[in-house]
Amino acid sequence: MNPLRVAVAVARKDLLSEWRTRELVPALAQFVILALLIGNFGFQVDSRNANVIAPGILWMALVFAGLVAFGRTFAAEREQSSLEAMLMTPASPLAIFAGKAAAAAAMLVLCEAVLLPALALFFGSPISIELITAVLLATVGMSALGVLFAAIVARVRARELLLPLLILPLWIPIVIAGAQAVQSAFGLPGSYDQAIGLLVDFDILFVVLTSLAARFVLDE
C-alpha cells in the first residue's frame, strides 16, 4: 500500500464531502464571528486595550471551533457506518489517521481565514506573517491531538461531553505558547521566537505521539 496515496484519498474524500454538504465550515465561520462579536461588546474594547484582549478572544474562538471540527471527523464516519469499511481495507491505519487529521486541519484553517480578518475588523489587530505563522503552527498540534481523541471517543455515547474533557488539558501547552506568540505579534512584551520555538517543539511531540497511538486506536 502507498501510505501517501491513502492519506491524500482520505483527506480528499473528507474535504469533498464537506464541500458538497457544507455542514461544518459555514457553521464554524459563523461561530467564530459571533464569538468575536460577543468579545467585542463584552469587554468594551477601545484602541488602548484591543491588542491585550484580542489574543484571548482569538484563542477562545479557535479552541471551541477546533472542538466542534475535530469532534465531527470520526462521528460522521460512525454514524454512516463507513469507518469499519475503511478499516477493513489493507490500508495503513496511520495513513488513514494522517488523511483525517489533514482534512480536519484544512477545515480549521478555513475558519482561521475568516477568524483573522474578523479579528482585524472588530479589534483592529494587524494581520501579519508572525500572527499567521503562530496560528498555523498551533493548528498542526491541535489537529493531531484533536483527531486522535475524536477517534477514541467516537465509539462512546457521551462523546460530545468527553472530547472537551480529554482534549482541553492537552491543548493548554499549545494555547499558552500560541497566545504568547500572538501577543508578541501584536507588539506586546514577550519573545516571539521563543514562543514559536515552543510551538514547533509541541507540534513535533504531539505529531510523533499521536502517530504512534493512532495505529492502536484505529486498529481495535
Binding site: M1, V8, A9, V10, L16, R20, S82, T89
Partner: protein
C-alpha cells in the same frame, strides 16, 4: 483445501454470550449460508470471520494464517458486506468505489468494472444518498468485490435487493469462498450447498439443503 478453519470461536458482549464455541471448516470455493433468528449470533460470527471483530476465545485461520495476528495481510483476501451499507452519502457511486481503489492502491478502472457487474453503471455519477436502498446495497456489494477477494462474507446482502437478488449474488459469489447470512431460506438453499444453523450463539449441526427448507 481449507480456506477457513475456525476452532471454538466464542464471543461475549459484557455478560451476554453471543457465540458459544463455533467450529467451522470451509473449503476453497465452498458456499455456506448462516441461518438463525434475530440475535442468534449470525452477524457476530460473520464479523469474526471477516476479521472485523476479535473473538473472546477461539482460533481462526484463513488461508493458513492466524486471522488476528495477520489481519492486515489477510484483508487482501476478504470482502465484507456488513449489515449497513456504510457508504459516503455525499460522494457519487463511482467516487465511493474510487476511494476504496485508492485505499487498496488499485486502478480506478476496477471501480467501473465493479459498478458494471452489479448493474449500477447508469447511476455511477449519482450521489450515494440519492440512490435507492437497493442500489446502495448493490454499491456495498461492488465495494466488497472490488479487490477480487477469495473469501466473501455477506451479512444479509439480499436486504432491499429486489427480485433479481439471487442472480446478482450468484454472479458475485462465483469462484469464491462465501459465507452468507440470511433470513431467506429459499435464497440460502439456492445459493449455498451448506448451511449452518445458529441458535443462541450455538451451532445446530450443518443440515442438508432440504432439511433447512423444511
Amino acid at each position: 483445501m481449507s480456506l477457513v478453519v475456525a476452532n471454538g470461536i466464542a464471543h461475549r458482549f459484557g455478560n451476554e454470550l453471543a457465540l458459544a464455541g463455533i467450529d467451522l471448516v470451509l473449503d476453497t470455493g465452498e458456499h455456506m449460508a448462516v441461518l438463525g433468528d434475530n440475535g442468534a449470533g449470525k452477524t457476530t460470527l460473520l464479523r469474526v470471520l471477516a476479521t472485523a471483530l476479535k473473538p473472546t476465545a477461539g482460533e481462526l485461520r484463513i488461508a493458513g494464517l492466524d486471522a488476528f495476528k495477520e489481519k492486515r495481510r489477510l484483508r487482501h483476501y476478504i470482502g465484507y458486506v456488513a449489515h449497513a451499507p456504510g457508504l459516503y452519502p455525499a460522494l457519487t457511486a463511482a467516487e465511493n468505489l474510487e476511494f476504496f481503489c485508492d485505499l487498496q492502491d488499485m486502478s480506478h478502472s476496477h471501480a467501473i468494472e465493479a459498478l458494471d457487474l452489479v448493474g449500477l453503471s447508469a447511476v455511477a455519477r449519482r450521489r450515494a444518498d440519492q440512490l435507492s436502498r437497493g442500489m446502495q446495497q448493490r454499491l456495498a456489494i461492488a465495494r466488497a468485490i472490488l479487490h477480487q477477494p477469495r473469501l466473501l462474507v455477506l451479512d444479509e446482502p439480499d436486504a432491499s435487493l429486489g427480485s433479481d437478488a439471487a442472480d446478482l449474488l450468484a454472479t458475485v459469489m462465483r469462484d469464491r469462498t462465501v459465507v452468507l447470512a440470511t433470513h431467506d431460506h429459499a435464497l440460502a438453499n439456492r445459493l449455498c450447498p451448506r448451511t449452518l444453523m445458529l441458535k443462541h450463539g450455538r451451532s445446530h449441526g450443518t443440515p442438508t439443503r432440504l432439511s433447512v427448507v423444511k
